[in-house]
């Protein structure tokens, strides 16, 4: 008995020691992570706090807690340019939502064709579609610009929106093809037996079953469009049509050194929609990145 109990106790002790060591290492890891978290968030929090400070206090301190809170910067910044930021925000919102709609409709129709329909040359087109994934946009930029210039579309939203309705974002097509392939074929078989048309199968069966991938595509399209700077920079040149990103750029160039407060306030506002997506759709963001390597 004693001969058996002895190693048993020492094994317990060993396990206790290992647990203690694990707890110590975990503690150190937590300390490192908390410090790193503060360092990561500090610039963002500082900008947030600076946007609520009185003008003369913005740079007086690196502290995060303002001595007094005021909305002055927001009021000033809102009307800093000839056109109010209300206009820029509604421009960006309309543009982003239209692009979301375009990508959802066009990419899902294309993905449905690739994932479910049978037609000659399918694998050929599919390979070409995958090939365009790697194509940097600079290569198509100039002829596209010339095309849109000749169509009289420069200084409208059409150059930014129409491509979405023609499924140029191959990435989302690929994402949806992968998802559609995972939906059991028996479902569309049964619907076909019941006399449904191909379009009905796409619209009434595939789309409702694909809400996760559609959500992922929608939020990423929204974020990409909301943040897009290059497209608006090239195609929009009247302030009436500016998106928030372009307006911020004008703000920087016109009065950066004189009104950091107003600029910070508008910058913070421009991040709000993305932050809301982050709060409410974080699961989709994380899964989207983990499974596909989406850039953000």
């Amino acid at each position: 008995m004693t001969a058996e109990a002895l190693p048993l106790r020492s094994r317990d002790e060993l396990r206790a020691a290992r647990r203690a060591r694990h707890r110590r290492v975990s503690f150190i890891a937590h300390v490192i992570l908390v410090i790193a978290s503060i360092a990561m968030l500090y610039p963002l929090l500082w900008m947030l706090s600076a946007s609520f400070r009185p003008q003369n206090e913005i740079f007086s301190t690196g502290s995060l807690i303002p001595s007094s809170v005021t909305l002055d910067s927001y009021v000033r910044g809102w009307n800093e340019l000839q056109v109010s930021f209300a206009r820029f925000f509604s421009n960006s919102l309309v543009l982003s939502l239209t692009c979301v709609l375009g990508n959802l409709v066009a990419c899902s129709i294309t993905a449905f064709a690739f994932a479910r329909l049978k037609f000659a040359g399918k694998s050929f087109w599919f390979a070409l579609m995958l090939g365009t994934l790697m194509l940097p946009y600079q290569v198509t930029l100039i002829p596209q610009y010339v095309l849109f210039l000749h169509l009289g579309w420069v200084n409208t939203y059409l150059p930014l929106v129409v491509p979405k309705f023609l499924a140029v974002d191959s990435f989302f097509i690929f994402l949806m093809v992968q998802f559609f392939r995972g939906i059991p074929r028996e479902l569309d078989e049964a619907a076909y037996m019941d006399g449904c048309s191909t379009f009905t199968i796409y619209w009434r069966i595939m789309l409702p079953l694909s809400l996760p991938v559609l959500t992922t595509a929608a939020i990423f399209t929204f974020i990409f469009t909301w943040d897009d700077f290059f497209g608006p920079l090239i195609y929009l040149n009247q302030m009436q049509n500016y998106t928030v990103t372009l307006a911020l750029r004008s703000f920087v160039d016109s009065s950066a050194e004189s009104d950091w407060g107003g600029l910070f306030a508008m910058s913070i506002l421009s991040l709000v929609p993305i932050f809301l997506i982050f709060l409410f759709f974080q699961r989709f963001l994380i899964e989207g990145i983990a499974t596909t390597g989406m850039k953000r």
Partner: protein
């Protein structure tokens, strides 16, 4: 089990009828549905992707200022780029510098934090969210604006340095440091590769560690012999994606330098130079040549990465 593919459905109702003789109508009957669904993409592919790509290849051999029709100049644009354009060399230098310093640093941070988080710590979702947030927001103009202030002469960084008695330079207007602030901005956004690393770490079977631990392997040994080799596909994936992305980086440099690439072209990213040539000077032919060179650089890099992957990426599982 045989599964009837959709799209051939058109055959079924007409099977009893006499087959029409025209090959075209037979082709249409078999493939029409598919091509109808594919038509928006086909239009976009030809009209906005492959068509423009080929036209820009043609334009790269021309002189074109948007106002007059392009005139063919042979390989003059390319000759000038490679022999008489110091700004091109500078843009290449800046971009490669940015890629070489930002990508590895970003990946190392992403991996280290992912390893820390993967220890089964409590609060993982909170940490993950905090580290991911900068990378979600980071591409926006707002953050570039913030960076411009942080590293200005009278910016926050110098205010903080002054507290410990250091007088910092004006980081963004000093050619020695301006590019480093952009590298730092990129590294700050290590969140998304970190999430990919976390997903990869979770794929590694736990029993491998248990077996190694019974054999008395140290933690470092387990990292070297299990974690790292099994993670190489993820490292490879992250490296390729991040590098291509870094080559195409535009917005931060544009905002920080007000579109100039200054001080003394020290933040003249390749894309920024291309933008200046195309939309500042309207040298569309020259800019097209720059775009094709960028495509070739990215393609060559990607090709080499895949070739090299045979020697270091571990694929059997």
């Amino acid at each position: 089990m045989t599964v009837r593919p959709l799209g051939v459905e058109a055959d079924a109702p007409t099977a009893g009828r006499t087959v029409t003789t025209s090959g075209w109508s037979r082709f249409w009957r078999k493939n029409g549905t598919g091509y109808a669904f594919l038509s928006p993409w086909l239009l976009g592919f030809f009209g906005l992707t492959i068509g423009p790509a080929l036209i820009s290849l043609y334009l790269s051999f021309t002189d074109f200022n948007l106002l007059q029709a392009p005139t063919l100049v042979g390989d003059a644009n390319y000759v000038r780029i490679f022999t008489a354009d110091p700004k091109f060399l500078q843009a290449l230098r800046v971009t490669f510098f940015f890629v070489v310093f930002s990508v590895p640093a970003k990946l190392v941070f992403a991996l280290l934090v992912a390893l820390l988080l993967n220890r089964g710590l409590r609060g993982l979702p909170i940490y993950r969210a905090i580290f991911y947030l900068p990378s979600l927001l980071g591409a926006s103009v707002a953050i570039a604006v913030l960076w411009r202030q942080l590293f200005a002469g009278d910016g926050l960084i110098n205010k903080l340095l002054a507290l410990i008695g250091i007088t910092g330079p004006s980081w963004i207007s000093n050619p020695r440091y301006a590019l480093w602030t952009l590298v730092l901005l990129s590294v700050w956004q290590f969140g998304s590769p970190m999430i990919i690393f976390l997903a990869g770490l979770r794929q590694i079977p736990q029993d491998m560690y248990e077996a190694a631990s019974i054999d008395g392997a140290s933690r470092w040994r387990m990292f070297r012999s299990i974690t790292l080799p099994l993670l190489t596909p993820v490292i490879f994936f992250n490296a390729v994606i991040q590098t291509i992305d870094a080559f195409k980086s535009f917005t931060p440099a544009f905002i920080i330098s007000s579109g100039t690439g200054n001080p003394i072209n020290s933040t003249l990213f390749y894309t920024l130079y291309l933008y200046q040539e195309a939309f500042g000077y309207f040298r569309m032919g020259y800019a097209s040549a720059l775009a094709w060179i960028l495509l070739i650089i990215i393609a060559a890099f990607t090709g080499l990465s895949f070739l090299s992957s045979r020697f270091w990426v571990h694929y059997d599982s």
